[in-house]
């Protein structure tokens, strides 16, 4: 038996507990699954699974509640921050987080995220920017790159007609109630690790009641980008990062110690 031989080994990486032991519906190579896993790892490491509540979006991640072993619900398209506000305000001891795509958060739901930030709601927002509307089949999102061909910008995004891509972290970081706003990416292992660290900090910010934390994660949509997964990761690096620079957009003073600790912990 293999297990007998494996018994000699230490497990150095295994599926996190907070990730339900099932297969996701995501397309092959889609980094939604990867980001889910990072969140689950963080929930495990912080030991907050028993008091976390997920608000899933409308978008490819609509079924996210099936994949986390925490309580979960599903908001109307774009309204996750409002729903999360209702949950958190009435259950302040819970850790409430939203998981939202760029159509969800950066198009229809911009008002809700801005005002949740404005009120300094104690919420954690994982914002998955894949420069398109995945679930509905690849339409233009506010974050779609200049010239990018989508099913609703078939001649490429014309910035003269519809403006340049919207930069969410830059926008939200101007709002004082958003105390931790960073942009990360999952296009390679080093950045995956940084993303995880940021997600951890974002949850810690909430645990300490400091205000809204938002981690923007550049993510792939191999299906609608019409690219194999590895090429999609490359596209994040080549095409997206120049438009959406990675970095820390706001780290409020109260949050600084947390970032130090998290870095140390890596």
């Amino acid at each position: 038996m293999a297990s007998i031989e494996l018994a000699e080994y230490d497990v150095v990486y295994k599926r996190p507990e907070a990730l339900v032991n099932t297969t996701t519906h995501y397309c092959p190579g889609c980094t939604h699954g990867l980001i889910h896993r990072l969140i689950a790892e963080v929930i495990d490491e912080l030991g907050i699974g028993e008091r976390s509540i997920l608000v899933a979006p409308v978008g490819c991640a609509v079924f996210a509640y099936n994949y986390f072993s925490v309580d979960g619900c599903e908001a109307p398209h774009g309204r996750a921050p409002a729903m999360a506000t209702g949950l958190k305000r009435s259950q302040p001891d819970k850790i409430v987080f939203t998981y939202q795509g760029d159509g969800d958060l950066a198009a229809i739901g911009t008002n809700e995220i801005i005002h949740a930030a404005g009120r300094g709601e104690n919420l954690t927002v994982v914002f998955v920017n894949n420069a398109t509307y995945g679930m509905t089949g690849g339409q233009m999102a506010p974050t779609t790159l200049a010239g990018q061909v989508t099913t609703s910008s078939p001649y490429g995004r014309d910035v003269d007609l519809v403006g340049v891509p919207m930069r969410v972290s830059e926008l939200i970081s101007t709002i004082p109630g958003a105390v931790y706003v960073v942009r990360r990416s999952v296009h390679n292992v080093a950045n995956i690790n940084k993303t995880k660290a940021a997600i951890k900090t974002a949850f810690q910010v909430q645990m300490q009641g400091l205000g809204l934390s938002l981690v923007e994660v550049l993510s792939t949509c191999p299906t609608n980008w019409h690219m194999p997964p590895a090429k999609a990761l490359q596209w994040i690096e080549d095409a997206m990062i120049p438009v959406f620079p990675l970095g820390d957009y706001r780290i409020a003073d109260a949050v600084v110690p947390l970032t130090k600790r998290t870095r140390g912990g890596q």
Binding site: E50, I53, D71, E74, A75, A82, L87, K94, N111
Partner: protein, 382 residues
């Protein structure tokens, strides 16, 4: 408890507090705003309860949705345009089968309209509070006291049937003051009383999911069947109405809310003149007292529906009466309120008509056209 003079909006808010509402989310809009303002003033006095002014009605309804998913007693309030903005969220709440209470203090429409009392949201509230197959339980008080009592009860109803309960009133009830006897304070829910579907953290139990999504038609039909079965129970158990002098009525007035009470004045005047007039005042607009109306229709000679709109409940009356009595309609719109003298004029006119057969009650050239005509008439008359 002694009676006190309360403004409708504030009385509703106080009743909700006494009923144990834990979380209120809203947005200002006339003629409902005093309800929100009362909550802003009072809720901070009760630790553990939440008042939050949302950035919009869209946000408010989804905050309610969130709180409701936590098994928390929660509500919002608004007026017509704000309610329209809530319709997507309300449909989600219904599809997720979580309880919530909503107060609609109706005003004149369509569009921005004005802020005067109106009943123009009857269809919206009773038929289609958003897309999809569902009905909210809609309760229409006609006095401030009744508004208090129905609000107080609404939370239990919402929780019992895991549904949206609407308190449907208009600017007149929201703004007027009447003597009220307030109900006793109820305790807010303790943790162990939270419903077994509530999202409270997956501690010592499997994680719970609340969603309105079900991609398979088979699965979503199951949800709908569960919903419809629950609505059927509501239809069996929760039909409410008030009757006045229906036993010998030759003319039956049907009116709800503010219109219902105004009709009482007209009714009394008519009776003083010896006219045999009665009144059916539906209190639950959904479920509509169709059975009772159907019975009464067989006993009366004529029905007059009076509404502060172009004729909306009229359709439910039509469907319930099923040709057993001719139906007339009198309505005013845009914040105009039919006053007793106008109603008495209609009564006089109708009592003077020969008793007609149900056959006269033709649709098409019947009720709808008549509705418009009546309103025109009333308008040109004064």
């Amino acid at each position: 408890m002694a009676k006190e003079l309360w403004k409708g909006n504030e009385a509703i808010a106080e009743a909700a507090l006494r009923a144990g509402v834990e979380a209120y989310f809203g947005y200002p809009i006339t003629p409902q705003t005093e309800l929100l303002e009362y909550m802003a003033r009072e809720i901070p006095k009760y630790p553990g309860r939440v008042f939050l002014q949302a950035e919009s009605e869209l946000a408010a309804v989804n905050m309610v949705y969130g709180a409701a998913c936590g098994g928390v007693r929660t509500m919002s309030s608004s007026s017509s345009p704000g309610i329209s903005l809530m319709s997507e969220g309300l449909s989600y709440i219904a599809g997720t089968e979580v309880p919530a209470v909503l107060v609609d203090i109706m005003r004149g429409g369509p569009g921005l309209g004005n802020i005067q009392p109106s009943q123009a949201d009857y269809f919206q509230m009773t038929k289609s509070l958003g897309h999809g197959d569902y009905h909210a339980l809609v309760l229409a008080p006609s006095t401030v006291q009744e508004a208090v009592d129905l609000t107080y009860e609404s939370f239990e109803l919402a929780e019992k049937y895991r549904t949206v309960v609407v308190i449907l009133a208009d600017g007149a009830i929201g703004q007027m003051m009447e003597p009220v006897e307030l109900p006793p304070w109820r305790e807010t829910m303790r943790e162990e009383q939270r419903p077994d579907w509530a999202l409270r953290g997956a501690k010592d139990r499997p994680h719970r999911i609340l969603t309105s999504l079900n991609l398979t038609p088979e699965g979503l039909e199951q949800t709908n069947l569960r919903l419809q079965a629950r609505l059927a129970t509501v239809q069996r158990n929760e039909v409410r109405w008030e009757e006045e002098l229906t036993e010998d009525a030759e003319l039956l007035l049907v009116a709800f809310g503010t219109m219902g009470r105004i009709c009482k004045t007209a009714l009394r005047a008519a009776r003083r003149k010896g006219q045999k007039v009665g009144l059916l005042r539906p209190i639950s607009l959904w479920p509509f007292p169709e059975q009772r109306l159907h019975e009464l229709a067989s006993k009366t000679q004529r029905i007059l529906v009076v509404e502060m709109n172009a004729g909306q409940m009229l359709l439910d009356v039509q469907a319930a009466v099923q040709g057993r009595a001719p139906i007339d309609f009198y309505g005013r719109m845009g914040g105009m309120v039919p006053l007793p003298d106008e109603i008495n004029e209609q009564i006089d006119r109708l009592m003077a008509l020969p008793i007609s057969q149900p056959e006269t009650n033709q649709p098409g050239n019947g009720y709808h056209r008549h509705a418009a005509a009546a309103a025109v008439a009333s308008h040109t008359r004064r």
